[in-house]
């Protein structure tokens, strides 16, 4: 009996390998191998097109530690990762609660708020470039019409407003996506609990603080995680809206990777930056998961 079971198990194990193998080969070829090769490339001075690849040890990482430009890109990335995550989630939760409570045209409002999500980052970027253009943009034209020409702002050309303009445009584009997740969470909250709280005299804020928000913990974890990852990867909007400028003011780690690897012919340095970004994302995600999971359990 035991022998028969062992044979069956072995047969099954061998059989499973054949199912796994194609995916394993594919994953190894297109994910594992490039990842490992990027570790090697980060230790070289490869320019990206030349057949010569020279090993330079940790020089690229030393330069990263000392480069003001990289530090500025890191700083901008952190700004995006905090401000964008905060704004996207606050706006998305607010929209979700509004849409959840509205009686009429509920689907219309959902569609309107979700519509920007369907646009590519490039298209969205171009739209905002037109809106924010100094000479022909809608906002500055309105200021002109109101006789406030002196208050016109070069939204994307002024270092003080360029970063915040990108953040606001990104919030406009992506909040609808997170709204849908929060909306799903809101609709899963038992009505009886809210009604019981109302009967007990709980205010709107108390209902939100003690019932709605705790029961949205799962959705909150997902949204914050996705929002954080997309903030760390932000690229399209910067490429279209500012090209990292003015000067180097709005470069982020992902954008500087592209610029140095492709524009400045420093694939090795760009790959080293990619590894640094990978490690940063890994650490942030790990901390975030730990914190948010603990919060979910506590709630």
């Amino acid at each position: 009996m035991m022998a028969t079971q062992t044979i069956k198990k072995k047969w099954w194990t061998n059989y499973a390998i054949w199912f796994i193998l194609p995916s394993l080969v594919f994953y190894t070829a297109f994910v594992i191998a490039p990842t490992l090769s990027s570790v090697y490339l980060s230790l070289t001075s490869w320019d990206g097109i030349s057949p010569d690849i020279r090993f330079i040890g940790l020089d690229n990482f030393r330069e990263i530690m000392n480069s003001k430009r990289v530090h500025n890109a890191f700083y901008n990335t952190m700004i995006f990762a905090t401000v964008l995550v905060l704004l996207e989630n606050v706006v998305a939760l607010g929209l979700a609660m509004l849409v959840d409570q509205v009686r009429w045209f509920r689907n219309l409002f959902r569609s309107i708020f979700y519509f920007p999500v369907l646009m590519s980052g490039i298209v969205m970027g171009f739209i905002w470039v037109i809106i924010l253009n100094y000479n022909f943009g809608v906002i500055n034209q309105l200021l002109d019409m109101m006789g406030l020409s002196s208050k016109k702002v070069d939204w994307l050309g002024d270092p003080d407003t360029a970063l915040i303009s990108i953040i606001l445009a990104t919030v406009w584009k992506s909040s609808g996506f997170f709204m849908i997740i929060y909306l799903a969470g809101l609709q899963g909250i038992p009505k009886e609990m809210v009604e019981a709280a109302e009967i007990d005299g709980a205010s709107r804020w108390q209902q939100f603080r003690h019932i709605t928000f705790p029961l949205l913990a799962g959705a909150f974890t997902v949204c914050v995680m996705l929002s954080m990852i997309s903030s760390l990867k932000i690229f399209d909007q910067i490429a279209v809206m500012t090209d990292g400028g003015p000067g180097f003011e709005t470069e982020t780690l992902t954008y500087i990777i592209y610029k140095v690897a492709f524009g400045e012919l420093r694939q090795g340095f760009g790959t080293a930056l990619g590894i640094v970004l990978f490690l940063i994302t890994l650490v942030i995600s790990f901390i975030q998961i730990k914190l948010l999971r603990r919060r979910e359990v506590e709630m």
């Binding site: 330079i56 002024d158 270092p159 090209d243 400028g245 003015p246 000067g247 180097f248 524009g263 420093r266």
Partner: protein
Amino acid sequence: MAKKSVFVLLILVLAFTALLSACGNNNNAPAAETKTETPTKVEPVVEEKQDVEFSMGYATGDPATKQAIEETINAFTAANPHVTIKNISETSSASYLDWLKTKDAVGEFPDLVELRDTKVFVDAGKVAELPADLHSLFTFLPKLDGKVYNAPISGNPPQGIMYSKKAYADAGITELPKTYDEFLAIQQKLLDSGISPLVVGGKDIWHMGFWINYFLINEVYSQDPDWNSKRTAQTASFTDPAMVQAITDYKELFSKYVDKGWLSTADNQTASILVTGKAAQLFSGPWMIGQIQEADPNFEFGFYAIPNRAGKTIVNGMPGLSGWALSAEAARDADKVDAMKAFITFFFEPAQYSKYLATVNAIPTTAAQVTYETGEQMQEVLRLVQDTTIEKRMAINNWYGDNAIPPQFRNWFYKLLQELVLRDGDVTDYMKQSDVEYDNNVKANQQ
């Protein structure tokens, strides 16, 4: 309305060759080849009419150039139906080098490509030599290490001020400047008259090069055409007085007289800003003439080169290492080579080339005589080109041979200079940063 006289341009081969030869001697590149004899007619090579396809890439930043090349492609494929040209060119705000590098990274390096950073791709083994039977088409072919890679699409044009005649009249400006200080006085008059003096398309980083190189040419390269090679050898510095003077002048001009939205203005918006009277002047090359006329056919404008402080006019205009090139991979396919040679021959045939030159307002490079119509602005451009008393130099990134700069340096430098103005930075500090970056780039490229 701009007075558009019909100016029949007969390029005299000997005169033009003499000019170009005179221009080429400040570069450490090997001596340029010149041709004065009647060009050998290159017969279209495609004889068996086998179907053949090749891809093509060129810089599309200027709409007129894009249109002119597309029209040439259409005319060529109509005359050669067995050839299919896959035009993979794309318009983006990134620099052309970035775009080309990205194409190469994804395995889509064009078979026939317009190269502006030829050395980068030659060093990487991506480019084949220009077939010898095409050489006779041109009056001048720049060489890299003794080899010819490019069929020059057009001559390196001088840049100058395109000014609104109305704005000048309104500001009481009756004479064009004879020195740079007079030019600055004109800027002040324009500002006082209530108009923004200069529009700059600073969102496109390559546009920054027009002004930056005006100052570099007049303060640095006019005195020392080999400054780049000295910088590479670390015997010259960005903190040299001439360089600091150039960048100080740039900073002063941009801080006082450039339209406020310059950093978010794209190059293709500058014509609209000029013709709508939001700014009085644009500093750019002759390819903008068509765009300005298209934006408003009734807009009256003139063109002049800005003199330096000593009253001397020195312009961009030396022949550069750029033009059509065959990719090394495509050059291994005889059918593709034949088709690409046929296209290049077609492109430079006087009847076809004249249309391109007229659309783009470009300077011819062919040995064959080309006749096309120009307006008053282009006549001034051609006068500058043909006047041998006007010195010609090149932009910082166009020098080649020993004077070639690290290709990655240009964009970084231009962006740094944007930041210099934005942050009201100290010129010497920024130039010290430039020295460090330049040396890092040189070191990285040598590794």
